[in-house]
Amino acid sequence: QTTRNALSGDKLGNNQSWSPVSVFNVLRSLSAASHGLTDEQKEFQKVAFDFAANEMAPHMAEWDQKEIFPVETMRKAAQLGFGGIYVQPDVGGSGLSRLDTSIIFEALSTGCVSTTAYISIHNMCAWMIDSYGNKEQREKFCPDLCSMEKFASYCLTEPGESACEKTAEFFVGWNCQPTRAVIFEDCAVPVANRLGEEGQGFNIAMKGLNGGRINIASCSLGAAHASVQLARDHLLVRKQFGETLSNNQFLQFKLAEMATKLVASRLLIREAAQALQEDRPDAVAICSMAKLFATDECFNICNQALQMHGGYGYLKDYAVQQFVRDIRVHQILEGTNEVMRMIISRNLLSES
């Protein structure tokens, strides 16, 4: 059974000069992210926040620094049902909605963006097999993926150069998850392992991305949420010119703008999740809008939070720089934010 101890949180051994557990315990107590949720969703969110605060946040700096892919922690998360959140229960998934999923990833991300982003990609892959696989494929692959006995990854190819083909050895962020070029040479894939019909692959891959975009945007949300909290706490403590930074109107206004953009991002993401769940005609466009808006705004929020920390913001001892580094790539992958604009404008201009 996966366990945790809420009461001994601040006794965790930590080489860092910041106390991630105490900050993230305050995050748990923020009810802003819970507004409008059902009782059940609040319970999911609570488990995710607790798990993030106790199992992830204390290690996120170490995982980043040592480039550790935290297998054991992710398997613990899978035991709680986080391995196949929107996969059907008959093959080991939790059978939850897109909105439930977004809420969960947003909360987990406050503990470690990179690890949560990986978990979300793993979930997307498991869902694709669950939704498009035949009976044999679902039964063969989904249970092990939901338990994270096996780990999934999503590979993209493109004629000519693409980000995936470049050997990605040293990343600015996302250091917890290995991203590598995968080369298939003379590799025969049995027909039994093909998802869907011949020629359907591109569509399946694209369908997976809608949910993937909501998930990645949700990860950005979690980072921004944590960064706003970190900035707020710093402003209340740090003194300059004889008073705490929180008395400075410019910083007050900046914090207000950050919080406003955070809530706006959250609402757009949750709306997109609903649209996808209901298979609405505008789902693709709104998922792209959510990804575009939230990843951009949340990066700005984290970046601004770093600025508010002054020199401390640039020290690796402080968490805010890791949030900035980790979510920077969200504006690039799952379709660049430029591609998001292409999708949205195409949707707008093709309406009759």
Binding site: T3, R4, A6, L7, S29, D39, K42, S94
Partner: protein
């Protein structure tokens, strides 16, 4: 033996929240403040669920006394593995004045009604720190009590307990039925899993009023005032040990 365990769970202000005293000094601010299950109650629920998993007991019933929102706390217990819940509906002024004496009367009545073999409680709540409910409940029922438990094992119709006391660890053996209160190191509570949270929705929570149990919740205590602890005063530095002694004498400390 019914094999039934009653677990008391209390809804308290979340331990991570910064507490603020109300401007009128009648209490602390609770409106809009995040609440959760008392951490020691979580430990009690975990212990009960573990006993059920070991097949030493048959049913775990989670009980909470309070307003409608107490049902959320019961749901958390259900998500951790309790089988059903009982919400004892107490609200308004009655709830503000609810204390260990009334709660223990309620628990004693429920224990008789439900034919409970064991009552598991947290040792104290983190809001009032009373550390009385377990002891009072045992006294009302005339049952043995194992308080501050850091280890519990069932042996036939007896319970072996290790208690954390000032002098160290005390090993006792008590008869059932009994009341046990959980201390910090008894166990590490599990996370609710997503499937269990969903299953919890289908588990039943019955609602009763204290009057139905023949309990009068009128309080014999009146809270006069609630204040913040005094602000910490600045200290002072002294140069030598002699100076220190002089200062201590001036302050009347030696």
């Amino acid at each position: 033996m019914s094999g039934r365990v009653l677990v008391g769970v209390k809804r308290v202000i979340d331990y991570a929240v910064k507490i603020r005293v109300k401007p009128d000094n009648t209490g602390v601010v609770t409106d809009g403040v995040k609440h959760s299950m008392n951490p020691f109650c979580e430990i009690a629920v975990e212990e009960a669920v573990k006993l059920k998993e070991k097949k030493l007991i048959k049913e775990v019933v989670a009980v909470s006394c309070g307003p409608q929102q107490s049902q959320e706390t019961i749901r958390t217990a259900l998500a951790m593995g309790a089988d059903r819940g009982i919400h004892v509906d107490v609200s308004g002024k009655d709830y503000e004045n609810l204390g260990p004496l009334q709660v223990s009367k309620i628990l004693a009545a429920l224990a008789k009604q439900e034919d409970a073999q064991l009552i598991l409680l947290g040792k104290q709540a983190i809001d009032d720190d009373c550390n009385q409910t377990g002891q009072m409940t045992a006294a009302l029922l005339d049952w043995p009590q194992g308080t501050f438990a850091s280890e519990v094992s069932l042996e036939g119709d007896k319970i072996n307990l290790v208690r954390e006391i000032d002098g160290g660890l005390e090993h006792i053996k008590i008869n059932t039925p009994a009341v046990i209160t959980a201390d910090l190191r008894l166990n590490t509570p599990r996370y609710a899993t997503l499937p269990n949270i969903m299953k919890a929705k289908k588990k039943k929570i019955a609602t009763v009023k204290p009057a139905d149990l023949g309990v009068d919740v009128t309080s014999r205590l009146e809270v006069l005032k609630v204040e913040e602890p005094p602000q910490r005063q600045a200290g002072m530095k002294v140069e030598t040990v002699e100076d220190l002694v002089v200062k201590l004498k001036e302050a009347g400390r030696v």
